[in-house]
Structures are given as structure tokens and as C-alpha cells.
Amino acid sequence: MDNFLTYAFMQRALLAGIGVSIPCAILGVFLVLRRDAMIGHGLAHVTFGGVALGLLLSVAPLLVTLGVSVVAALGILKLKEKAGLYGDTAIGIVSSLGMALGILLVSLAGSFNVDLFGYLFGNVLAIDPEEVWLSLLLAAGVLATSILFYQEFFFLTFDPESARTSGIRVRRLESLMAVLAAVTIVLGMKVVGILLVSSLLVIPAAASLQVARSFKQALVCAALLAGGTTIGGLVISYYLDWPPSGTIVALSGVFFLVLFFLRKSLRP
């Protein structure tokens, strides 16, 4: 059996995979507890439009998608706030428009379907060194911001009304959280693809909530699960020749089920 670590493409995949999945999982804990998990799914649809725009303009799709996703995330918040829409309705509108934009651009260009498929299903094994560095840089930014605003995010997640009466600027924090969600979705897109990227936010967070007894434990547990399933998924996919994106997500689903039944047996 050969050692997968001797291959540069596997080294890059592991580096980018771990670097991206950990901040996704940490942010996911806040989003899941705020019942905002679907924002990840909605923004993933929007990234389809962003990628198509980037490919059409021949500008780095990662950067174009980043801009489109951040605008979409803030748009969802504004729709909720100004139009008085429910969160899932606002997400539904923005994600559908993003997807429609992608379909229109693909139809107009008609020539980059193969590239687009790489984004839809993810291809972390083909990630190039520049994308690895860009991903790690953005992931470090998301992680550092989450640590700096940890106490505020925690308060906002648990009790937004009391957070406001503690002098916390709730609207600014909600915007910051939405921007971070947009950045993590764009980062995860390259690892597991647009169709599965929201799983990086949701599954490790939901799994950690089955066993965590404190908020810090939930964050650490989600980060460990995300890192572990990314490594495990990549290793399994290498030796069994399975698609890495599907393997990573399926493995995290298995961990979720194990922890779910563990909680049920301990605290029926």
C-alpha cells in the first residue's frame, strides 16, 4: 500500500480540506443554534451564479464568487429586515435568483460546462497551490474573526434581545456572521462542491450538539469532527478510489448518527 502523503496533490487536498472545514464547522455551531443553517444551503446556490459569472468574465471564479456571495448574504439580511420577510423566505428568494443567474450565464456562454461541473461536485484533489494559499488565508481570517467576536456571537446566538440591552450591536454582528458564512461557503465549494458545501457548516455542528455540555465544548468538538472527517474522507477516497467530496460528507453523516444514538442511549 503506497503512502498517500508522498503525493503533492494529496498534501494540498489535506491542507485545504482541514483549513476550510474547521472554520466552517465553528461558524456552523452558531448558525445551527440560531436556526440559520439554511443560509449555507441558500448561499451555496448563489455561488453557482458567482462561479458562472467568474468563468464568463475569465476572472478568478473564487474571487468573483466571494463578492457575489457576500452581497447575497447581506441581501438576505436586508430582505428580512426591510421587507419583513421570514428568514427562510428571504433565503429562498436570493438562492433561487443566484441559481437562475448561473443557468442564464451557462446558457449564454455554452462553453464552460466541464469547469462548472468541477465546482458543482467539488474536486479538492485538483486544487492548485494558489487556491490552497488563498483558501488558508481566508480560513484564517474567518477563524480569527470568530475568536475575536466569540463572546458576542455566543450572546447573540443564545439571547439576541438581552444582547442588545448589554450594548452589543446586534445588527452589525448579524451582518458580520452572514459575511463569514458567505466566505466559508465559497471556501468549502472547492473542497466538497456547491451541492454539498452546506454540509460542512451543518453536519459537524449538529453532531457536536449531541454530546457537548458547554458552548466551548461544542465548538472544539465540531472542529475536531470536521478535521477528522476531512482527513478520514480523503484517505478513504484515495484508497478506495471514491469521490472525495461524497466520502467526506458521508463520513461526517456517519459520525452524526453515531453521536445521535450515543446521546439517545445516555440521555433518552
Binding site: L33, L148, E152, F154, E161, S162, T165, S166, Q210, S214
Partner: protein, 250 residues
């Protein structure tokens, strides 16, 4: 000498769409008051508290909190607040009692608001004051409604605020726990001169524990002392002859 006025509500009105929720409400709350804000369902009590705390903007009128207009108010560490239905906690929410009480300290911390070892004694003290020190590391979802309520009071008083606002804090809590809870509030008010503003429907609380009462039904139709309240014809109107009110103090 009259006590210092901590909260001033001047000609406050609030409309939601075409509906008047509050009309021209004015009153003051002095330091050391234990005020019950009461009135029928939908009378605007929660709306008024939310306006006083700056969570809602009034359609007309002015609010002053600790001598500062509410839109310029920044001393949030001097205010404690326990919102309505605070104890509707998701049982799976992974937060310990200690983590929740520590949230209350954020209002006095500059960015990045990290907690330090020096904050622990304050957290312990707040938990001791509400008799919850032994459950510091328990998950909030594992506690009873009454115990959760005490944790939220500890979070609200961890900064030793000047004023504590509570919005129907004992809804869904059993009678025995309610009695202990209000005795604890009375003690905080008496011993530590904590000013308390309490929204309640519970007449036994009004007759036993508070020293000021404000009755609201869109308009303020009574504001005075506990004794004035007990002898006021407005109370009989409120009770509509269904109950006999016995006012007494412990």
C-alpha cells in the same frame, strides 16, 4: 428627601400599523423602587419596557434612563434585564450556567470582550446571591424552570446594576418556586437597594412585595404606592368584583 429619578417616561405613545398600543404614557421610577407594572393582556406592558430599554422606538415621547436620553444611553452595565419567556431554553443548547452568567459581564468589557480569571469571583458572587452556586457547571437545559429563572437573574445582576427589569419572570413556574423567587427579589431590593421594575399579572406579588404600582391599558390609569393601589377604586374596577384584595406586607 425624594429619591433620585432613575427612569423617566414622558408622553410616550406607540402605534403598530393603525393600532394604538400606548397612548401618552408618563411616569417616573425612583432609586430603590420595587415597581409592579400590571394590566390586562395586550395592554402594552412589554412594549413599554422594550421602549424604555431602547429595543423599540416610540412613535412619540421621550425616555430617559439613568439621566441620559435612551438614544444616547451607553451605560448598559448599570441595567439588568430578564426578558419574557427567558426560560424557553432549547434543552440541547450547549451552555453551562457559568457561561450564561458570564454573558452579563460583556456590557462592561471593551472589544474583544474576552473573559479573564478575575471575572470568576463576580460570577460566583452572582450565583451565590440567587442560591445557584452549586450548579455552576450544569447545562442550562437540565435545570427546572425556577432554577433557569434564577440563572437569568444572576446574569442580570452580575454587574451589580442599578435597575433590574423583569418581564413576567415566573410564567410557567410552580407556586412554591414563585414564592421563593419573589422573596429573593424583595431581599435584593431591601438589602442592596436594587431598583426593580417587574411586569406581572400576579396580584399576590403586588400586595406582598412591591412598593409602587403602575397599571396600564394603552394609557396609564394608575401610578402610585402599594398602599394607594390597595385602596384605589381603580383596583376594584380591574378585579371586576371577582376577587377580594387583601393587602399586607411581610
Amino acid at each position: 428627601m425624594a429619591n433620585e429619578t432613575l427612569i423617566s417616561v414622558e408622553n410616550v405613545s406607540f402605534r403598530y400599523g393603525e393600532t394604538d398600543i400606548l397612548q401618552d404614557v408618563s411616569f417616573g421610577i425612583a432609586a430603590g423602587d420595587f415597581l409592579a407594572l400590571t394590566g390586562p393582556n395586550g395592554s402594552g406592558k412589554t412594549t413599554l419596557i422594550r421602549i424604555v430599554l431602547g429595543l423599540l422606538k416610540p412613535s412619540a415621547g421621550r425616555i430617559s434612563l439613568l439621566g441620559e436620553a435612551i438614544d444616547r444611553f451607553r451605560e448598559w452595565n448599570r441595567i439588568g434585564y430578564v426578558p419574557q419567556k427567558a426560560t424557553n431554553v432549547d434543552p440541547l443548547f450547549p451552555a453551562t450556567v457559568r457561561e450564561i452568567v458570564a454573558m452579563g459581564l460583556l456590557s462592561q468589557k471593551p472589544f474583544p470582550r474576552f473573559l479573564r480569571a478575575a471575572d470568576e469571583p463576580g460570577i460566583n458572587r452572582a450565583l451565590e446571591r440567587v442560591g445557584m452556586a452549586g450548579l455552576k457547571n450544569r447545562r442550562i437545559g437540565e435545570l427546572s424552570g425556577g432554577q433557569q429563572q434564577r440563572v437569568f437573574i444572576a446574569r442580570a445582576i452580575v454587574n451589580t446594576p442599578d435597575v433590574l427589569f423583569l418581564d413576567e419572570p415566573t410564567a410557567g413556574v410552580d407556586a412554591e418556586t414563585q414564592t421563593r423567587f419573589y422573596e429573593m427579589l424583595s431581599e435584593l431590593n431591601r438589602r442592596e437597594r436594587l431598583t426593580i421594575v417587574l411586569i406581572t399579572h400576579d396580584f399576590s406579588v403586588i400586595t406582598k412585595h412591591v412598593n409602587k404600582v403602575a397599571c396600564l391599558n394603552q394609557r396609564l390609569f394608575f401610578h402610585g404606592t402599594h398602599e394607594e393601589f390597595c385602596s384605589s377604586p381603580v383596583v376594584q374596577e380591574l378585579l371586576q368584583g371577582e376577587h377580594h384584595l387583601v393587602c399586607h406586607r411581610h
